[in-house]
Amino acid sequence: MGFFHGKPKEHIIVVGCGHFGFPLVRFLLEQNLRLTVIDSNSDAFMQVPVSLNGMMITGDGTDPDTLEAAGIFHADAVIAATNDDAVNIMIAQLAKQKYHVNTVIARMYDASKEKTYRELGVQMISPVMLFTNACLQMWNTVSNGV
């Protein structure tokens, strides 16, 4: 992913700081990126180490006010990483269509909607599909090796 290694201090907004979002947030913070994290539950930020600098905002990621408070007008990338497909899609669409953010990535559980949304220019990553593909690949390697 290009923006990880791009010019320093790119501004990234991550929505969702739960089981999935938190490791991502920690990784991005360690890369010395300018990061703003949004989660509807303020407790979610408790696990983020104080030593890492990031802006935390408690709020609804589908609310334009929250996104604007997070500085979406000048964001280089938005990653929607909540545990709700619908929320991720809406955030991605808002980021793409309303705020014209360059890189927008949404996490999707259910891959059946993928085609509909790919047409809208939203990039989607399905952890389930990634895992499935990795499993298949491993299995293929093992069975070929035998």
């Binding site: 929320v87 669409q93 259910d110 059946s112 909607k113």
Partner: protein, 222 residues
């Protein structure tokens, strides 16, 4: 008149219950997708509708509800994201003619409309505009002495109104009646004799209470 439409309702606990009942009474074919088992059971027992227990965000559930046959899809959930996704799937993937959605956050109405949702209904926005309207008359009324017999009324001009495209001075108002403000496309216009009346204009009239009915009838042109 269109009747016997296939209508798909999605989520929205109480709203879908009452809506399903009333639409069913009008002879439409209703299918409901809900996450709540009790709601499904109650509705299926009391009215003749198809209830499907499941997550409407899942395309296989939508297909099970025969979304392709639907004329109208109505999303009633408390989650804007869910409503948007369902309406978008309905419009883009299944090419449903009409998608109606509840929009809980009024700030999102425009975004929903841009994404092709045909009717966006926001409860808080409706109440908000009601209060604004109420306030417009009230704020004028505040300047009137309490004992005066003058009332303030707001009249919206419909296509039926006979005064469309007429200048204010051409309208035969009862004596002492006057139009104090015209709300046009959300902005207030201070009227003059030469101001023309347009459809959907909201005219705020000041008149003695005895003449108000006549003045309002004159504007409505019924």
């Amino acid at each position: 008149m269109e009747c016997d439409m296939n209508i798909l309702l999605v989520n929205g606990f109480q709203k879908s219950y009452f809506l399903a009942k009333s639409l069913c009474g009008q002879g439409h074919h209703i299918t409901l997708i809900a996450k709540n088992q009790n709601l499904c059971r109650n509705l299926a027992e009391s009215v003749e509708i198809v209830c499907i227990l499941g997550d409407a965000g899942n395309t296989s559930v939508l297909e099970q509800a025969e979304i392709k046959k639907a004329d109208i899809v109505i999303a009633l959930s408390d989650s804007d994201a869910e409503n948007l996704m369902i309406c978008e799937l309905a419009k883009r993937k299944y090419h449903i003619r009409l998608a109606v959605s509840i929009v809980n956050n009024p700030a999102n109405i425009e975004f929903f409309e841009q994404n092709g949702i045909d009717y966006c209904i926001s409860e808080s926005d409706l109440i908000d505009s009601l209060i604004r309207k109420e306030n417009m008359g009230n704020s004028i009324r505040r300047f009137l002495p309490a004992c005066s017999d003058i009332v303030v009324k707001e009249v919206t001009l419909t296509a039926k109104s006979k005064i469309l495209d007429k200048k204010l001075w051409e309208i035969p108002f009862p004596p002492q009646c006057t139009v104090v403000c015209i709300i046009r496309n959300g902005t207030a216009v201070i009227p003059q004799g030469t101001t023309e009346c347009k459809e959907n204009d909201k005219l705020i009239i000041l008149a003695p209470s005895t003449a108000m009915e006549e003045a309002a009838a004159q504007l409505a042109g019924s």
